[in-house]
């Protein structure tokens, strides 16, 4: 345990972060007979896959000291593009949109010195408007190959499982093995010091925002393919859910602290709560309220230096 506390300086992992999903899992096993069925677990997996992918991107931005509220809108725009554009162009176009949104966020925050919350709130609104303009009413069909990639099974496992594993492995490589990850921690902890160590801080932060938007695009692709239709407001709850996952996973929004394992734990906690409430037949709107309570509790524990935004 002491080891864990020592290492926690960077990973943000604590007993609570890890124990929360495990406890929930055990509780659900005990209270619901249907929970442990393979079908239900596969379902949980599919439900959280999009959140996990988007949250890993959010985690990167958070560790670099920013925050991105536009992920949900980017998911919505992705969904709108997938069902309105020629199938061959849809995915590249969506990815290109992701890059542009990331660049706008990144440059707004770095070069123009706008608070990341305000900046991403602005892009969120614009992108949401664009999504609604492209595809005002939910519906349409997602390209078939995407649908296959999202809902079929390989070797008995649901496709979502592979999406999750892929995202986790990539994020883990990026944060823990690559030079980029190390520098992200440095930039998040103290951009001035990082700059004096010869790191191109602005470029690095912009890149984090771009990667976050790209992960939102991928999450959007998966979610639309799973649902099988396009919906411009599909991602509406995701911006806050990803942030809640950060807070639950010990990722400090002030920057410099966080880990892939923490993000996974945070997403699992949220996913298990949703699934549990679902199994118990509780209104989905109360679920939103509970997310709010969790978010409030989690950020209440993250004491910061400054007061305000």
């Amino acid at each position: 345990m002491f080891e864990l506390i020592q290492k926690s300086r960077r990973s943000g992992l604590s007993l609570i972060v890890l124990a929360l999903p495990i406890t929930l899992f055990i509780l659900l096993c005990l209270s619901s007979s249907t929970f442990t069925r393979f079908e239900n677990l596969a379902n949980v997996n599919s439900q959280i896959a999009a959140l996990l992918i988007a949250s890993l991107g959010q985690g990167l931005v958070a560790i670099s000291g920013g925050i991105d509220l536009s992920v949900g809108a980017v998911m919505g725009l992705t969904s709108a593009i997938l069902v309105t554009v020629d199938p061959a162009l849809a995915v590249p176009l969506a990815l290109a949109v992701g890059v542009v949104v990331g660049l706008v966020n990144g440059f707004g925050v770095t070069l123009f010195n706008v608070h990341p919350l305000v900046m991403s709130l602005a892009t969120m609104t614009v992108v949401q408007g664009m999504a609604l303009a492209v595809h005002p009413i939910p519906g349409g069909t997602v390209p078939a190959f995407l649908r296959t990639m999202a809902v079929s099974r390989f070797a008995g496992m649901p496709a979502a499982f592979f999406w999750c594993v892929g995202a986790i492995v990539f994020a883990w490589f990026l944060l823990n093995l690559s030079r980029f990850g190390l520098r992200t921690y440095a930039v998040g902890a103290n951009p001035i010091s990082a700059g004096r160590n010869g790191i191109a801080v602005i470029r690095h932060k912009v890149l984090c925002f771009v990667l976050c938007s790209l992960s939102a695009v991928i999450a959007g692709i998966f979610l639309s393919a799973r649902v099988g239709a396009g919906d411009a407001t599909m991602g509406a709850s995701y911006s806050l859910d990803t942030v809640t996952a950060m807070a639950l996973g010990g990722v400090q929004l002030a920057g410099g602290t966080g880990s892939v394992l923490g993000v996974v734990a945070g997403v699992l906690t949220l996913g298990l709560i949703s699934n549990g409430m679902n199994l118990m037949g509780i209104s989905p709107f109360l679920r939103a309220a509970l997310t709010g309570v969790l978010l409030l509790a989690a950020i209440g524990f993250q004491r910061r230096e400054t007061i305000g935004a």
């Binding site: 706008v104 707004g108 123009f112 010195n113 706008v114 608070h115 919350l117 305000v118 900046m119 709130l121 602005a122 892009t123 969120m124 609104t125 614009v126 992108v127 949401q128 408007g129 664009m130 999504a131 609604l132 303009a133 005002p136 806050l240 942030v243 807070a247 929004l253 209104s283 709107f285 109360l286 679920r287 939103a288 309220a289 509970l290 997310t291 709010g292 309570v293 978010l295 409030l296 950020i299 209440g300 524990f301 993250q302 004491r303 910061r304 230096e305 400054t306 007061i307 305000g308 935004a309």
Partner: protein, 325 residues
Amino acid sequence: MTRSTTSQTMAIGHMLQVSGRVILSLPFAYAGTVILLIAAYFMRPALLSPFLLLLIARQAAPLGVAVLGQSLCMRVLSIDLSIGGVVVGVSYILTSGLLPFPDPVLLLIAIVFGIAVGLLNAFFITRLRASSVMVTLAVTLIITGIAVAFSQLRSPGDAPQILRDLVRIKIGIVPLALLIWVALLIPIALFLRKSVFGRYIDAIGANPRAAWVSGIPYVRVVTVVHVMSSLFAVLSGFLLIGFVGVGSMDLGRDLALNSLAAVILGGVTFGQGKGGVFGPTVAALMLTFSFNLLTSLGLGEPAKLMMQGLVIGVAAAAYSVQRKT
């Protein structure tokens, strides 16, 4: 080019530069309003009739009242995104019929509810030092989640008669709602300019660290600001419910975002310790007018959203560039 024309163009350039700087130093809302009015003159002159302008001003009143609170929050480097949540809560309290009380008592309960939300926000922001955006968004989630879940059980009914009358009454040709707004605006502007409270808000906005170190009652000021903001949101909710006549869970949905846009447009920026009450007020009028213009041009919700976002982003970026130079 001859020498004299060079110096002439330079002189003109200089003049443009100076006047540009003066215009830039004013809240964007002023220039924006002028541009919008000119645009309307050419595209939809009908919007400029006094009757419609007064109607638009009346329509702007709920936003204008909410903006008063938001501008206070932003001047102490905080943000209140729970305004929409408060309005939904107020709407539910007043119209659900779940609480078996006469209207005046319900109004009182709504006010107490507003104070409670403000205190809750302030507690998390000042004592636990949580991010104000996160806190107020979470609070919004909680309030709307609960209200919507309950409205599934019992759908909201009619608005209290007092509120419906409140917005319908006109004094001369001026709607009462507009007068209420102005009646709030002027004493608040004076209070902020003259009081200890106003001075502290400027100080905290200019340098929160210095405010803390020099013993300004930071926690108390920020708490009062957030309570005031929630109270303005309650009042804004009263006006909205009066307009609509029945309760709705969609009420005030974009109020938080619009108020944010208005405050930024109105010249209140993070970390400057500057910004008044009138800039954001003009911005509230301007935004409402622009939405009417967009609607009259046949553009719907998406265009509105895009404009809002652009306004927030561009204004915030422009201000910080200006601050740097």
